[in-house]
Symmetry: C2
Subunit: 389 residues, 2 copies
């Protein structure tokens, strides 16, 4: 397949025809190269991972569900190495094109899926989101993306990074298609526009700053207009850095464990930024993880307190538009740190979040996000559609 966007894994040629009938009949989708596709190696964005693994013997259940519902799979998309990236830079396979801002990175780690959707190569695409890997490329590429409630959709047949936070998610240009895929994967109808109470996350908007807040003011007003009530709160009663640190400790510790034996045996090639994450996280001890426990509990409790049934939190998806390409290591590290101040809010508490492409800064997209209570995924999908309407 011709791939002007560098969205698909170079040399991969995957095509699996969906069922002739079903709720997704006629739609084309792609899957991040961490989803098992029978007969193909799941490459994980790293040539040495690909080289040291056999082809999958079965489709990941989530892929099978989409095929059974009539969608046709047309490709494996580039991911940041072993999903350990947030900017969409892959030192081996290159950076997928951000068609909404071609001089900027697409965001990752589900970079190719976002690129393929934003560029119109597919109707929707599967990604995964551990620390923001669906939400951030949604925001950077100007498309819709859902990170579901943690644990709601099976991770079987998917390359695992961090069991406490891994979720699968997906992208679409059209929120109606985002919702149709959701109905298939959740096995439940997406409801009509729900009634809800809105909470605007003051501290998250403060992280993003004035330009993003201004760009999202109008769509935020439209969310308010749909809500029964609206208020602004500090979602974190200490500092978002505390939530980020606690989540980051556990995520990094789990990620290192997930790959430690393979790294030790394989001596894989990594981009330097990816290797750095492995080394940084290798210093985390069991005691560090235990020490992060109380803050994680406080985080989950506080979020549960805010998102009682029927409440939705609004926040910027990312602290700004996608950064320009050609970042130094230092730039990349700073950017990741700022991004995770926002992505940890839902991610650290296992809550669902939808990102909507409703603003622009410096000519590039910025997303407005809604976080709901656990298992309110369908409500968020309905709200995204209502916002477009």
């Amino acid at each position: 397949m011709s791939d002007p966007l560098n969205a698909f894994v170079p040399g991969s040629q995957v095509f699996v025809t969906g069922a002739s009938e079903g709720p997704l009949a006629g739609l084309r989708f792609a899957a991040k190269d961490i989803f098992d596709i029978a007969g193909y190696v799941t490459g994980g964005g790293n040539p040495d991972w690909a080289r040291t693994h056999d082809p999958a013997t079965a489709h990941a259940p989530v892929v099978q569900k989409l095929l059974d519902a009539g969608a046709t799979l047309i490709g494996k998309t580039i991911t940041d190495e072993l999903t350990r990236g947030i900017l969409g830079i892959n030192a081996h396979y290159g950076t997928p094109v951000n068609t909404a801002a071609p001089d900027r990175v697409p965001g990752g780690s589900s970079s190719g899926s976002a690129s393929a959707v934003a560029g119109g190569l597919v109707d929707f695409a599967l990604g995964s989101d551990t620390g923001g890997s669906v939400r951030i490329p949604s925001s950077f590429c100007g498309i819709y993306g859902l990170r579901p409630t943690h644990g709601r959709i099976s991770l079987e047949g998917i390359l695992e990074q961090s069991a406490s936070f891994d979720t699968i998610g997906w992208f679409a240009r059209d929120p109606a298609i985002l919702a149709r895929a959701g109905a298939v994967l959740f096995g439940s109808a997406v409801e009509e526009t729900p009634s809800f109470r809105l909470v605007v996350a003051e501290d998250a908007f403060a992280v993003a700053g004035a330009a993003v807040s201004a760009a999202l003011a109008e769509p935020l007003d439209r969310v308010r207009a749909l809500a029964e009530t609206s208020e602004s709160v500090q979602v974190c009663q200490t500092d978002l850095k505390d939530w980020r640190a606690a989540m980051g400790t556990v995520q990094s510790w789990e990620a290192t464990k997930s790959f430690a034996a393979w790294v030790d045996a394989t001596n894989p090639r990594f981009g330097f930024d990816v290797a750095q994450r492995f080394f940084d996280s290798a210093t985390i001890t069991d005691a560090d993880v235990a020490a992060a426990g109380p803050m994680r509990q406080a985080h989950c409790a506080r979020m549960a307190e805010i998102v009682t049934l029927g409440t939705v939190i609004a926040l910027p998806t990312a602290p700004g538009p996608a950064p320009l390409k050609g970042l130094s290591q230092t730039d990349m590290w700073d950017m990741r740190a700022r991004i995770s101040l926002l992505t940890c809010v839902a991610g650290g508490a296992g809550l669902p979040q939808v990102s909507m492409p409703l603003g622009r800064v410096d000519g590039a997209p910025v997303g407005l996000s809604l976080i709901g209570s656990a298992h309110s995924d369908e409500k968020l999908l309905a709200l995204a559609s209502a916002m477009q309407a």
Copy 2:
């Protein structure tokens, strides 16, 4: 050129005819891919280094000297990435074949040069030795190799790792050819077999252990027979680990500085073991380097005391034969630490060392080394020839 040994950089096609007359006329040589060859990119064993550098505009002076002396250059050889390895493993270009023990690594970082010499593709080959990168592959591949006195041969036109310890060196199967290349590069005749006092390094043999000591007993007796007097001493009066630590601190600190800006800007792909060295050494502070100073001075003073003019130290080049291929990261790390206990003896003091392929353990080569006083390189070359005779 056909390269059954994987000794040459894949895709490189370098051929520079030497002068028609001269002391090296008719000989063929290769150069580690850290030596500038006019018109070719100096790749340094890393595809991103190659990608981000322009072709060299002039030959490195050391290469020019060899060409002017009649030797013909037939290729660029694989090196461990940016010379930061001792085992001869390159995650990008593969491991050159150790023809003397094909199931074992060849040693590095001058891996391809050693492989090409051992396998008979060339008569001699240029390498470099900062922490053992000529001596170790000499020992592992069963060939002769010289690490000259630090500072004696120009490093111009060569990829720098650590200015305090970098030397260029070379390999040959025949010690007479090792000496002929030396005469050209030193600009001085190699003397007849010199008279010398022998000092056997007890602590170095203890590091290597019984099997290596047994394998080197007979050649060591032959060295004794050539010597005027012979005695055994502990070369290090504290522990070789102290010398290794002091040298390692300075070397790693300098190596990190040499590449820091490029790494920051490029986000290069590295094999994990190489990336690990960068991360480990990035934690070294100026204060650590200053603290290593007294031990380095003690090391140099002690070695100067032993190798007064006319004294030669005998020691095993490596703690054992080349390790089998397929090492885990942990194995690699342990092996590097043991190797550097021996290579630091001469390297940390800037002294010349010749390795001679005079023993075998488990069917694989082990080298016997001689260390001389500063600028006694020609004497070591003469002794190597005398040992073969």
